[in-house]
């Protein structure tokens, strides 16, 4: 006779996902108040997001149009970051570059997380599918990210959409491997066994028991994916494989300034600074989240008042 799972018991096994998330958001807020570095990083990110949305309206010049009369001016009150070799205002181009970086970064992160987690959850229960897909994943992961992205872009052409696709390929592969590994090890844990013994169907186990426990890993990984994607987009643009030159991207501004190092140090300096600070902020947030979530999962000192 089939054992019917008792919803009451189930909820005791794993609190609803929403409760957990609320708990961790609250914890994050409290943590941010204590940890100045975290607070600063979140502030930087929020500024970045603001710029990403509003920078084009904030820009005071037409930064895509060349203005050879004003070329290679140093920083001044008219041009806070100076002008580049085409006379375009570097400040405007830098803050507009934020938009591209975040657009690509966030898109890649979202796409790779959604697809990656879904695929990982599915294949962890179908052994045959798992073997096949993992071979493909391993194959893609054997390539260094930028190389694969470069090759892909040379094939499908440079455009923002294609950059996102190219970078998402490797990111998704990485996510699948990570999440699958976590799911497989969780599957062997006793509370999942207990749920199965009570007759809980597989999709429910995945949603209620497995997913909440891997959320922390997914979130931490997502922050590193974001950082990586922002850096990768800049690298691709730097190499000329990203967006066209007149579209401001931190990567191609730096590339432009490369050749004018002696007279135009400011051209490459500022966008690079923005890039570094942004990536730094994301990485620090990721670190913080990991530090806060991990010890709670791991349990504390072995020598405490346990006995």
């Amino acid at each position: 006779m089939a054992v019917i799972s008792d919803p009451a018991t189930e909820w005791q096994l794993a609190p609803p996902v929403s409760a957990r998330l609320r708990g961790s958001l609250g914890a994050t807020y409290r943590a941010a108040r204590r940890d100045k570095v975290l607070a600063a990083s979140i502030t930087v990110l929020l500024i970045g997001l603001f710029l990403a949305f509003f920078a084009p309206t904030l820009a005071r010049t037409d930064y895509e149009r060349t203005d050879p009369v004003n070329r290679l001016l140093g920083p001044s009150t008219d041009h806070w970051f100076g002008t580049d070799n085409w006379g375009r205002d570097v400040f405007d181009r830098t803050i507009v570059g934020t938009r591209l970086s975040f657009l690509v970064g966030v898109s890649v992160t979202v796409v790779s997380t959604v697809i990656g987690v879904s695929v990982a959850l599915v294949i962890s229960y179908f052994r045959l599918l798992d073997s096949i897909i993992m071979r493909v994943v391993d194959g893609f992961l054997a390539f260094p990210t930028i190389l694969l992205a470069l090759a892909l872009i040379s094939l499908i052409g440079p455009s923002v959409g294609n950059i996102i696709i190219a970078l998402s390929v490797t990111a998704t592969a990485g996510k699948i491997r990570l999440v699958r590994g976590a799911v497989l090890s969780l599957r062997e844990s006793t509370y999942v066994e207990a749920a199965r013994a009570v007759g809980v169907p597989v999709p429910r186990i995945l949603m209620l028991h497995v997913l909440p426990n891997i959320v922390s890993i997914i979130i931490v990984q997502a922050t590193f994916t974001l950082a990586g994607a922002i850096l990768a987009e800049a690298s691709l643009s730097f190499l000329g494989a990203g967006v066209p030159e007149y579209v401001p991207s931190w990567g191609n501004i730096i590339a432009t300034g490369q050749g004018y190092m002696q007279v135009g140090f400011h051209i490459s300096f500022f966008p690079g600074l923005f890039l570094t600070i942004t990536v730094l902020a994301v990485v620090l947030i990721g670190d913080s989240i990991r530090d806060h979530l991990d010890p709670k999962l791991r349990g504390r000192l072995k020598t405490t008042a346990h006995s």
């Binding site: 504390r300 000192l301 020598t303 405490t304 008042a305 006995s307």
Partner: protein
Amino acid sequence: MAEVLLKVKNLSTLFRTEGGVVKAVDNISFEVRAGETFALVGESGCGKSVTALSIMRLIPTPPGEITSGTVEFDGIDLLKLRNREMRAIRGSKIGMIFQEPMSSLNPVLTIQSQLAEPLKIHMKLSSGAANDRAEELVNMVGIPDARARLQQYPHELSGGQRQRIMIAMAMSCAPRLLIADEATTALDVTIQAQILDLMQDVTEQSGTSLLIITHNLGIVARYADRVAVMYAGKLREVSDASDMYAEPQHPYTVGLLRSVPRLDSDKGAPLTPIAGEIPDLTDLPDGCAFNPRCPWAVERCFTDDPELEEISTGKQVACFEHASVALHD
């Protein structure tokens, strides 16, 4: 009567955690004599392991701190020693074995190198001499085929064998005191008896004192000379082992004994668990920490905290109502 080897006085150890300050060990005092087997008993979380680690000064110091007391070993206060001096005592004058043989041995080092280590550190033996002695030790703890075993790694041995190796390591430099912190809890029941017998043999032969930390009253009955019962960081009763089983004086001890099946109890008679739960150490009740669960509690127990008092030779109790406390009513 044998001389006092270890004298713990007013020892307090606390931990600063995110949930508050935990007084894991609160002002405890007891003595262990040379050659005797002393058991420190209590449930999980009562502070007994922390006591042992405090004696060895192995408490991790950012969250933990020994805040008061003296630990006199052979006349020297261990708490006042410099790190280097304390290191000379650990492993040579005092040996310690732990609960999890699985994780207490380094997985990437051979048995031989781990056994030989204290010999090289404390007795300054050369590699060759240390390895020979290691082989003798393996034989001493009853593991056959010593030479082959020495070249193996911990994961190739069974739990019982690993614990034997731990005993060998702890006894290698002929310590005067061996501390066994829940040494048999993680082993199969049949192996437990073997390991305990081994510990008893080995310490008897060399006149080493044995401090057993456990929650298992059966072990205490069989192997201990004297017992101290600990609850919520404080000692509640200290007496000779036989005395404790015959005439327990503290309500907690009585509760423990009543909840354990005995060979002489009536078949089918129900076990009586102790009502209530172990208190949260960051939020102890006023007065005696046991009062929520105590059948003999009177008004005074909720306001004042009883001290450990000697009520007869060799027997100490921390209870205002000990005169009314009895095992059978």
